[in-house]
């Protein structure tokens, strides 16, 4: 039953994705056109609260709800995988108008063709797993 909190957190996240319009193909287009502040405001204000929250967790050595120490994973050093992978992701994000979270929000909201995007994203993940050894990472 402890797992139900993750379902509830997901429901909350899904509502926020829909209501913030971060799940809108049009909003993503507008963002990359620099025609509106909206999406930058969403991400910027998330970061302000996120940075402060994580600093508090680190400074005060906040424990988890189960009273375990919190270990935030450090991303591996290097730049190639982040730059190349990130650029590939960005091309797809602008074209499909959906990053992985909003894909599922749109599915629930009844925009059913998003199933095509989800299946393709799973296929893309699979192909990465097959060819990753041949790609520059660091």
């Amino acid at each position: 039953m402890k797992a139900i909190k993750f379902l509830l957190a997901g429901i909350f996240f899904g509502i926020v994705m829909f209501k913030s319009e971060a799940a809108s193909w049009y909003r993503i287009f507008e963002m990359f056109q620099f025609d509106a502040f909206h999406m930058y405001g969403v991400m910027g204000s998330a970061l302000v609260v996120g940075v402060i929250g994580i600093q508090i967790i680190k400074q005060f050595k906040v424990k988890t709800f189960e009273n375990e120490p919190i270990e935030l994973c450090e991303k591996q050093k290097g730049y190639k995988r982040y730059l190349f992978g990130g650029t590939i992701f960005g091309l797809g994000w602008a074209l499909s108008g959906a990053c992985p979270g909003p894909m599922f929000t749109l599915l629930g909201a009844g925009y059913l063709p998003i199933v095509i995007v989800i299946i393709s994203a799973i296929a893309g993940t699979f192909v990465y797993g097959l060819v990753m050894k041949h790609l520059p990472h660091y």
Binding site: F6, G10, A23, G86, I88, L95
Partner: protein, 186 residues
């Protein structure tokens, strides 16, 4: 209920996303949605094709529940919390999109040209959804994370690799919208 059914302003939405991330951290987890795509691959048997998919599925159960919730959240928001799905899009974006043939820009949540099965087939836009989804899945795993893992979690933790990834997200997005869209749609 009026406040709930209006589109939420950025200064409400953004902090709520951060709260989701902080809640997951306080639960001993990390906010990263695209990891689920790898989990789905593993569950479908991809572990036989690559060691990359040999993961402990049980340890990912919470995250799968999270995206099931994300879908339910979309259902709840669209059904109960929205009077209109029109997006108050910037005028300049609407004009460009109209010239591309996206006639419902500013009036719909997503373009019908992309989100109606009939038009997908008739216009041949199906290939764009397939390609777009593929690039998102491939790129997210190559970069080691998506918008949630890098742009929100990584940047909040002041990780330089995440900043590089986010620069990549924007390089790709700008390239697509400013250079490739004019070739595809005009």
């Amino acid at each position: 209920m009026d406040i709930l059914s209006e589109p939420w302003p950025w200064y409400i939405s953004g902090p709520m996303i951060a709260l989701v991330m902080l809640f997951l951290i306080l639960s001993g987890k990390e906010f990263g949605v695209s990891t689920n795509l790898r989990t789905i691959c593993s569950a479908l048997g991809a572990d036989k094709a690559s060691d990359f998919f040999k993961i402990d599925l049980k340890a990912q159960r919470w995250n799968i529940l999270f995206i099931v919730g994300t879908a339910i959240g979309g259902f709840v928001a669209s059904l109960f919390l929205s009077e209109t799905s029109a997006i108050p899009l910037a005028e300049n974006s609407i004009q460009i999109l109209n010239s591309y043939g996206f006639t419902d820009a500013g009036e719909a949540y997503v373009p019908k040209a992309f989100f109606s099965f009939k038009q997908l087939v008739e216009n041949g836009n199906l290939i764009y959804l397939v390609l777009g989804g593929f690039l998102v899945g491939f790129g997210a795993r190559y970069a080691g994370g998506c918008t949630s893992g890098h742009a929100i979690s990584g940047l909040s933790n002041l990780q330089l690799p995440s900043l590089i990834a986010v620069i990549g997200f924007f390089a790709g997005g700008l390239l697509m919208v400013h250079f490739i869209f004019p070739l595809l749609f005009s």
